[in-house]
């Protein structure tokens, strides 16, 4: 052990996206010593890719909005299997978290009277998303980064954690390596906050970067924490589908918020063909009304393109499967048509959707002010994650906290666009605050050398084997398999087959070799991430097998209805004593009467 550098912190935050940075800022404001490790450089986390905005009931653009409407929208979007206390806290605290960003230097787009402008988004009753064109995530992460670097936080960039250190059941730090020299590092901390983001790399078509291999999910699982809601994986309806290398890159929902429409190859606006009953009252029944809604007419109802993501994604899959798709196997998303409505439409589009304009022009030779884009669903977000206490964000394991995408609860069966950035801020702050309090109340734990030696040995194995299995190829096979067998449309036989394939792939992964040495070796990093991918893939598959119904993002072809018995339970995943993965059912606590009333009121 002594030959590895040891970093001593009160609070260690793993991950430097929105949740991690917000947690670190809060913890350091509480006066404790904070360290942040991040897999990439600072400011590059997936938060940067968030385009649409931060959902918060500021009521700047529509004064009818308040936290109660936001709460009921979030619950409806999550099909009522959300952790309702988290949804309540989120809706109540999001406005303050947004205003705080402004106090730290963020510059949002403005209303005519100089307030923060808010835009429409899928599933939100009123225009609610504070935004900066279509680069809100960049504004948010840069604001947090630039604020955070002056708070005395220790940053360890390009550093990946392999295991959480434990002492008598409690988490007391983490062990991992820095990429540049490949040296192992010990982080000794009184509390650890996981803020590692998502799992998108388990699927072939994803908007997520190489980093999102379910690290936090897997670290927590192996430390004994429960994962919850893992069956709920969000396939964002609009990802790029061409060129092949760009497949999966996100096309923001803001395109539809600005009036973009979805068309099949026959030019039919197919979203009008299937409007779920729960949304019928709130959805326009003609094109004209939908257009007026996007232009801020308060008496108009939203166009069906702005229904929840799970629903829109399924409608797209239906069109493609029934032979009405676009040339590259998606559908058309057209915002250029608004030139029929607005005098300077091209300028307007470039101003409101600059990144989209740029992205399509450069990567696909498509000018979105003149022609439609081709889009299809892409793995975007996981609603499931570490089960946490709503107030403190602490997991079942003492000293271990989680926030943001790697934590679960607020989103239920489907997340509304814009609720992610606000989730990162609200629960990042809470995690930082409570981790700091925990660190103040508890001493440092004892590091167990045997645990470190074991993790170190396992990490070095890929250099020592005599075989020829390539880590990238194992990863690719896993991604193909999950895409095919546990994707948007799921069936029991296919998922059972996925479990078999996972066993085979794990066996292959145990034979993976990498050439070269430990210095900035991407092949080695890919090999070390595989285990996390297997853990989350298995968790998703097992939970999806158990939920024999359709709800939100979970779509079972063999159980095509929603089943109310599943409306009051969540599936919990834990590691059993023998090392196997166990699924259990857990009842969702009954909704507080005042919250029930709010939901009724805004039905």
């Amino acid at each position: 052990m002594p030959h590895h550098p040891v970093h001593e912190y009160d609070v260690l935050v793993i991950g430097a996206g929105g949740a991690g940075l917000r947690a670190a800022i809060e913890a350091s404001s509480a006066g404790v010593k904070v360290g942040v490790v991040s897999k990439s450089l600072l400011g590059k986390a997936h938060t940067v890719m968030a385009e649409g905005g931060i959902a918060a009931a500021l009521a700047n653009t529509d004064t009818r909005d308040d936290w109660r409407v936001h709460f009921s929208d979030t619950m409806r979007g999550g099909q009522y299997v959300n952790n309702w206390r988290m949804a309540e806290i989120h809706a109540k605290e999001a406005p303050d978290r947004v205003r705080e960003l402004e106090a730290w230097g963020a510059l949002f787009d403005r209303t005519p009277d100089g307030r923060i402008l808010q835009r429409n988004f899928g599933g939100h009753r009123y225009p609610r998303l504070a935004h900066v064109g279509d680069r809100t995530g960049l504004e948010m992460i840069r604001t947090l980064q630039d604020h955070g670097i002056h708070k005395g936080i220790g940053f360890h960039m390009e550093t990946t954690m392999l295991t959480l250190l434990q002492d008598a059941g409690r988490v007391i730090g983490a062990f991992g390596y820095e990429r540049e020299r490949g040296r192992f590092q010990i982080f000794h901390a009184k509390a650890v906050v996981l803020a590692t983001g998502g799992i998108g790399r388990a699927f072939k078509i994803t908007s997520n970067s190489w980093e999102y291999t379910g690290d936090g999910h897997s670290l927590a699982y192996h430390a004994g924490a429960a994962l919850i809601d893992m069956e709920f994986v969000q396939f964002h309806p609009t990802g790029m589908i061409w060129p092949p290398g760009g497949r999966g890159i996100l096309v923001t929902e803001a395109v539809r918020g600005e009036g973009g429409i979805l068309l099949n190859k026959d030019g039919r606006r197919f979203m009008f063909d299937d409007i779920p009953p729960a949304y019928r009252n709130q959805t326009a029944d003609n094109e004209e009304e939908g257009w007026r809604y996007t232009q801020g007419d308060k008496n108009a109802r939203r166009p069906p393109e702005l229904l929840t993501r799970d629903h829109v994604a399924r409608c797209i899959v239906r069109e493609v499967r029934q032979g009405r798709g676009s040339p590259h196997g998606g559908v058309f998303l057209d915002v250029s048509w608004i030139k029929a409505k607005l005098p300077n439409a091209a300028e307007h589009i470039k101003k409101k959707l600059p990144s989209m304009y740029h992205q399509f022009k450069q990567l696909a030779d498509v000018d979105i002010t003149r022609e439609p884009m081709e889009v299809g669903p892409t793995t975007h977000y996981v609603m499931g994650g570490v089960r946490v206490d709503a107030e403190t964000q602490m997991s079942d394991v003492p000293g271990l906290f989680a926030a943001g995408e790697c934590a679960a609860g607020i989103n239920g069966a489907n997340r509304l666009g814009g609720n992610s950035l606000s989730d990162l801020l609200v629960f990042g702050k809470r995690a930082g605050e409570h981790a700091a309090a925990y660190a103040k109340a508890n001493g440092a734990g004892q590091i167990n050398n045997a645990q470190i030696e074991k993790a170190e040995r396992a990490a070095m194995e890929p250099f020592e084997r005599n075989s020829a299995v390539n880590p990238y190829q194992v990863q690719e096979q896993l991604q193909d398999m999950m895409q095919d067998l546990v994707g948007i449309v799921r069936r029991e036989e296919e998922m059972l087959c996925a479990l078999d394939r996972l066993r085979e792939l794990r066996a292959q992964a145990a034979q993976v070799v990498v050439p070269g040495n430990r210095e900035y070796n991407n092949g080695w990093h890919t090999a070390l991430d595989l285990d996390n991918l297997f853990t989350v893939s298995e968790a998703i598959t097992r939970a999806a097998l158990e939920r024999r119904e359709c709800r939100g993002a979970q779509f079972r072809d063999d159980y095509p209805e929603k089943d109310s018995t599943y409306g009051a339970i969540s599936f919990l995943i834990r590691k059993a004593a023998d090392g196997s993965m166990q699924v259990s059912r857990e009842p969702i606590p009954e909704l507080r009467p005042d919250l029930k009333q709010i939901i009724e009121e805004f039905k």
């Binding site: 990439s40 450089l41 600072l42 400011g43 590059k44 986390a45 997936h46 940067v48 890719m49 402004e102 106090a103 730290w104 230097g105 510059l107 787009d109 403005r110 009277d113 100089g114 307030r115 900066v132 064109g133 680069r135 960049l138 630039d146 604020h147 670097i149 002056h150 540049e180 970067s209 190489w210 061409w242 060129p243 092949p244 290398g245 760009g246 890159i249 996100l250 600059p354 990144s355 740029h358 992205q359 450069q362 990567l363 696909a364 390539n470 880590p471 990238y472 190829q473 690719e476 990498v514 050439p515 070269g516 040495n517 210095e519 900035y520 070796n521 991407n522 092949g523 080695w524 890919t526």
Partner: protein, 246 residues
């Protein structure tokens, strides 16, 4: 499908050389796709940074045929495939390995810039009012994705290696965003002149030309900052004022 040869820099801070790899070029392919292809089958330990694949995160900066570019936004169709395509790391920074350069100096330089300091809130609820027209010009600077390509081409850094005396165009853009922020009350003119080396910039505009976000670095950020420094230091009344206040 066409064949393309990539001549990629392999090596660390001590030794290195270009190595050739053949790749099938498919329609719509970008340089980063080719690099991933090579990594996946021919050179698993090839070091490269990337995240978003969409020109949004600024991780994949490199020199392609000698031009500073984002690998994820450089289409193969814009390159002459009859010649080997060279890909090498940003040369203005120390090398880590292969295509990965040390960009830590930029993070250190940012920390030396005085942070945002807003005026007191306009309203008791802690909020301010700002108009879009006042926010527009700062929003241009805030588009920066920290790819550091501008730093890579600036001769003050690249040829003269003044990383510790000159913060470089990216950090001038950052300083300008703070200085022109409608709520900010801090002054950075002294630091710009004395420790951040704005005087070394002789407005060659090379930085502006390579910025993938098309930020008009020189005209909109650096020149106005230089004017602020002049106002602060060479304005006779202010100068007199400084004599008395120290």
């Amino acid at each position: 499908m066409a064949q393309a040869t990539f001549r990629i820099w392999r090596g660390d801070s001590q030794n290195g050389s270009f190595q050739d790899y053949n790749v099938e070029s498919a329609p719509g392919m970008v340089v980063l796709d080719a690099v991933h292809d090579i990594q996946g089958s021919q050179a698993p330990d090839l070091a490269v940074r990337w995240n978003c694949k969409a020109g949004r995160c600024g991780s994949c900066s490199a020199e392609i045929n000698g031009n500073p570019k984002l690998m994820c936004m450089t289409r193969m169709s814009t390159l002459d495939l009859s010649q080997p395509i060279t890909v090498e790391p940003m040369r203005a920074f120390p090398l880590v390995r292969d295509l990965v350069a040390h960009v830590g100096s930029n993070y250190r330089a940012k920390k030396s810039i005085r942070p945002f300091k807003p005026r007191p809130p306009d309203f008791p609820d802690g909020t301010w009012r700002m108009h879009q027209r006042d926010v527009d010009r700062v929003q241009e600077f805030r588009k920066c994705i920290e790819c550091f390509l501008c730093q890579d081409v600036c001769h003050v850094l690249r040829n003269h290696g003044l990383h510790e005396q000159f913060i470089g165009p990216r950090l001038f853009v950052y300083s300008a965003a703070l200085e022109m922020h409608p709520l900010d009350t801090e002054s950075r003119a002294g630091a710009l002149k004395h420790s951040h080396g704005i005087g070394f910039c002789n407005i060659t505009k090379c930085c502006t030309k390579v910025c993938p976000e098309e930020i008009t670095i020189t005209d909109n950020a650096i020149i106005p900052l230089k004017e602020r420094v002049v106002d602060e230091y060479y304005d006779p009344i202010r100068r007199l004022f400084r004599v008395f206040t120290g």
